[in-house]
């Protein structure tokens, strides 16, 4: 029953990084269609969202429905900086992350004092308020009409030339780079003493408190780091799709992020990555219309909770770990003999 444990970073994974990096770098050049590249970019952006959400949900044990709020806040921050001040994504991206993080600090210091259902409902109320503001503060956000024409940035390297990130290939590297940084950060935190504290928060808050683990501090760290990356994802999304609207605060975005975290495995590093890719590609390849996609999301959520609560990645490691232990005992028996 090795569920809820991340794959050991010492063995295997280190050997896989160069291979994985090589594959990722080569991917845009092997003759994919523009559409497939587009899906990869969207997947990468959703990897940022699901990975950061898993820090809050899977390790911290907090079901936050407000993640889309920080996604939207980041998107609007970046878009507004562009529209009003002609600031490129190079300013907008870090600004989006910082503004979302600050919003999370403000909101979190209130909301993270409660747990369980109360926290869930409060987080939902928050994202709904954000949606209402986005729709109604027309002077700022142009309401339902949204903010169009958000251009992708360009990068001029003296001596080499200019990269225009409006090209899908270029933006692909940007998105994947962002995803890599997010996953690396989450993994770093999870495998550190702060990660242990998060698990304490999830598994038994009172016991953790009794040995010096501040539940509030750890919840805040997860919440704010998560919001930071959600904001970054928002900025990337804004400059890639070129358009920002209150739809980003819709529940459909929230549940998409949820299902990506849950199906992959909410307390693993790999799980949200698998979930994000699966739930970006699958609905497209099944050629499903929006409503059917959401029915699928609902079915998967329900089925996952009832049948395999720890996601696909755990299902795999549930066969792997007993096998490894079995091999270990066999090997030690051989050594002893």
């Amino acid at each position: 029953m090795a569920f809820l444990r991340s794959p050991d970073p010492r063995t295997g994974l280190y050997l896989r990084w160069p291979l994985l990096a090589g594959v990722l770098i080569a991917l845009p050049f092997i003759g994919l269609t523009g559409y497939e590249l587009h899906l990869l970019i969207i997947s990468a952006i959703f990897v940022i969202l699901s990975s950061s959400l898993s820090l809050i949900m899977g390790y911290g044990g907090l079901l936050s429905l407000a993640h889309a709020a920080f996604f939207g806040i980041g998107a609007y921050t970046s878009a507004l900086l562009f529209m009003n001040f002609r600031l490129s994504m190079w300013v907008g991206l870090p600004a989006a992350g910082i503004v979302s993080a600050i919003a999370a600090i403000c909101v979190g210091s209130l909301f993270l004092k409660v747990r369980g259902h109360r926290f869930v409902i409060t987080s939902l109320a928050f994202v709904e308020i954000m949606r209402l503001i986005a729709v109604n503060a027309v002077d700022l956000t142009r309401g339902q009409m949204g903010l169009p024409g958000i251009a992708a940035p360009i990068l001029t390297i003296p001596g080499i030339g200019t990269i225009d990130f409006a090209s899908k290939t270029a933006f692909y590297f940007l998105a994947v780079g962002g995803a890599a940084i997010c996953v690396w950060t989450v993994a770093r935190i999870v495998h550190s003493p702060i990660g242990w504290g998060l698990l304490a928060l999830r598994e038994n808050e009172n016991l953790g408190e009794s040995v010096g683990v501040s539940a509030f501090r750890h919840a805040m760290i997860a919440f704010v780091v998560g919001a930071f990356f959600a904001g970054i994802a928002g900025s990337l999304y804004a400059h890639y799709t070129g358009f920002v609207s209150p739809d980003l605060f819709f529940f459909s975005y929230t549940v998409t992020m949820l299902v990506m975290v849950v199906i992959g495995g909410k307390a693993t590093i790999l799980g949200p990555i698998v979930g994000a890719i699966a739930f970006t590609f699958l609905p497209e390849y099944l050629r499903v219309v929006a409503q059917y996609r959401l029915v699928l999301v609902g079915v998967v959520l329900l089925a996952t909770v009832l049948a395999f609560p720890n996601g696909l990645v755990e299902l795999w490691s549930r066969w792997l770990r007993p096998a490894l232990l079995h091999l270990r005992t066999l090997r030690s028996r051989d050594n002893a003999a």
Binding site: M1, F3, L4, R5, T185, R188, I189, S192, P193, I194, W196, G197, L199, A200, E203, N204, N206, L207, G208, E209, S210, V211, G212, V213, S214, A215, I221, V225
Partner: protein, 258 residues
Amino acid sequence: MLLEVDSIFMNFGGIAALKGISFSVPEGQVVSVIGPNGAGKTTLFNIVTGFQKPTAGQVRFDGAVVTGLLPHAIAKHGLIRTFQKTEVFPALTVMECVRIGLLNNFQPSLFSVLIGKAEVAAFVKNSALDVAYILEMVGLQSKSEYLAQELSYGEQRLLEIAVGLAARPRLLLLDEPSSGLNAEESARFSTLVRRLQKQKITIVLVEHNMNVVMGVSDQIIVVHHGEKIAEGTPEAVSQNRDVIRAYLGREWVTDAVG
């Protein structure tokens, strides 16, 4: 005095659970708090460790006022508790559980984790040894890879104590530690308590098992209806009239004291 409980009052909406309890615990001793059920002992523990705020009164640890602090802040002073109903981290392995106790001594900032400060890595590396040592002390070394929820009840109790020990307590508050343990496990537990005392850990117990209480305590405090009715060595307390009356009823007093 390491722990000073000073006139603690606790009212729950009209009911006075604790009515001005005061006592002191000198460093290095084993003190047991006993009393009939419902006497307010666990409430007292909750107040001392920050899980509840008293209506009035003060708690001082090593001279510092700790009343009203959050539990984790009190724990950082070295005041560690266990719970009446055994608490563990269910989905974590025994090793991972105990490791969390170590956080009482070292918690890196987010920044130092992200930049990979050497002291963080060193802490993580040494944690394995620290955990192994503690597991051996409580006798769970063979179970370090088991999930906490897979352990038996008695083993979970030991695990809970192990987690508390990892926090390097100066004073350990054990809330009914031997409940649910059989005679052999209780005896092993008493040995553990004496061993901890040798390591200069002050221990305060809430207990019902009189064998354990009489066997390990340097001092006993008797609480009844939210008040302290007796205090002293095991011999003195066992002969105290008020204590006998509280536990056994009025009829027994003349017979016992004679």
